[in-house]
Symmetry: C2
DNA sequence: CTGAAAGCGCTAACAG
DNA sequence: CTGTTAGCGCTTTCAG
């Protein structure tokens, strides 16, 4: 048995002739190794998981593709979980994944979980990488776009275009990637050569949320000539609201988003936005997991920040 | 040990008091069951897989979400594989999945594989459900939109709008879902009260392919006033080509797609299309797998066809 | 209702 | 270089 195992796995210490014979017989018998037995014996599952809120969100689809490509290369399987950011589902997934002995988990966010559970997660033994920022420092690895820089880019760009009254529509500031984007944006506006008036509005980080925030903004600040949206979804909603209010984008008001989802280049008008390397981020997240998985228990959290860049399309122009 | 196992699994034949005691101790010890050992003992992995060409394709993202929801309900994990329709990757995934003892596989297509390998697949012992049509009858289950009906709908709709010269841009006719769509379309045009001239052009089933097919069509048949695209991606490319050629959609030319991906409602102009219930199809595919997984080896292929419907938006109008 | 024992298919010492 | 022997952690007869 041992020899067969070694032959099949290409381990050292098998005469070449024997190996060939084993392989031949295995083939004739249509032998299919049972990886779940291998897993029991070795204590490794060769499985990793990604928990996103919804794979239908193109942002996550892109990240997931990056992660899967990396996993595939390494001979790992990727299990996909859609949490809808629902704490109950998240906890359920987490337990199931631990029981299945996955070797690593990529999570889009743990912000909706209790602090207690976050700590349980960070100490559970399997490496976890987060795709957003967490206020306190728990032992998670993170893979992020350079949110602050992206915010700066947006602020600088719009103020250079001559905008003097700029609205910022964004998601909850405390968690996720939004806070830093806002900080970068405000910093850039502060640093502008000519005074820029800013107002930031918080809401839901969706197209619908963007629509509502825009309506709210327009009700009070009809003088705004530009909008920086915390992500592209918000931007799409904002455009819809603007158009509905009789404003032309970009003639009456410029709008810029964040993420550069595929949609962005296709809608009318094509959306100016801050590009964030989603595929690469997914790939990097899987890479970290892979590295940690082999260093049983002796890894320490890693953090990677990805550069972003301004994509100028047609939803923004000089005032 | 046996009693603990029974207690933990809620099996019959454990005094309630004992069960409670076991549960309490398990909790105190932070016991985490090892599902890979369970798998070895029971011969079941509680894992299923979906192999799509690319999860970034919104069509597959939607199907996958449906499948995952169904799997989640049943306590199964879903592993995601992106094949790019590359035969080498597909075969590799397939072998790996068999070794991992997945209990079922959803595949978007096996059309790019050799007939031999298709047969190997169909006889491998694990249930497989396909999301497209296969010419010869192998033992696969299938979950499909009603392609023929959809083609009819499109043809009837455009001819009723008064179009008399209609182009049909589509993918390869032999495999996949395209053939039936074309047949339905031609049937409807034939049945139109006034004579309709049709020309069908084959190309790649992508936006880029649609762009090229449209250019080709326009070069020869400038008199076309309507286009039926085999899917939405093709339609997007066709719109781009039309606009580039100085045509207005829908004023000069009407365009209708197939699938109703999310994009369709958002682009300018919003795309008229044949809606296909992607989420439900994914869910149904997983459902079939689940049912077959429990009937060890004694299931026979199942086929489900989902109704489609016409979604009238702004890319089409009466001539 | 509970416990003892065998075994799922593989790997990894350890001898030979 | 090859074979023997223990397990990996669970489920499942089979006795008690």
């Amino acid at each position: 048995m041992a020899t067969v195992s070694r032959a099949l796995n290409g381990s050292y210490g098998v005469k070449n002739e024997t190996r060939l014979r084993v392989l031949a017989v295995a083939k004739k018998l249509k032998y299919v190794p049972n990886r779940i037995a291998t897993g029991l014996a070795t204590g490794r599952s060769h499985i990793m998981a990604i928990v996103v809120s919804d794979i239908r969100n193109p942002f996550f689809a892109e990240v997931t593709r990056g992660a899967e490509d990396e996993a595939y290369e390494a001979g790992y399987d990727l299990v996909l979980c859609n949490s809808d950011l629902n704490p109950v589902k998240q906890i359920h997934y987490f337990r199931a994944l631990l029981e299945k002995r996955v070797e690593g988990i990529i999570m889009n966010s743990v912000a909706t979980l209790s602090r207690d559970f976050q700590e349980e997660l960070s100490r559970c033994g399997v490496p976890i990488v987060l795709l957003n920022e967490l206020p306190g420092v728990l032992g998670f690895s993170t893979v992020l776009p350079d949110n602050f820089e992206g915010g700066m880019l947006a602020g600088t760009y719009l103020s250079r275009l001559g905008h003097r009254v700029i609205g910022h529509l964004t998601g909850p500031s405390k968690h996720g990637n939004f806070g830093e984007r806002t900080r970068g944006f405000l910093k850039a506006c502060d640093a502008a050569t000519r005074k820029v008036k800013t107002m930031v509005i918080h809401g839901h980080q969706s197209s619908q949320g963007g629509y509502e925030m825009m309506k709210r903004l327009l009700a009070k600040h009809r003088d705004a000539t530009a909008i920086f949206a915390g992500n592209d979804a918000i931007a799409f909603g904002a455009i819809r609201a603007a158009v509905e209010s009789g404003l032309s984008v970009p003639d009456d008001i410029s709008i810029i988003g964040f993420d550069d989802v595929e949609f962005a280049g296709v809608v009318r008008p094509p959306l100016s936005t801050i590009h964030c390397p989603k595929y690469e981020m997914g790939k990097a997240a899987a890479e970290i997991l892979l590295r940690h998985a082999t260093r049983a228990k002796s890894w320490s959290p890693e953090h990677r920040i990805f550069g972003v860049k301004l994509i100028e399309r047609e939803s923004s122009r000089a005032v």
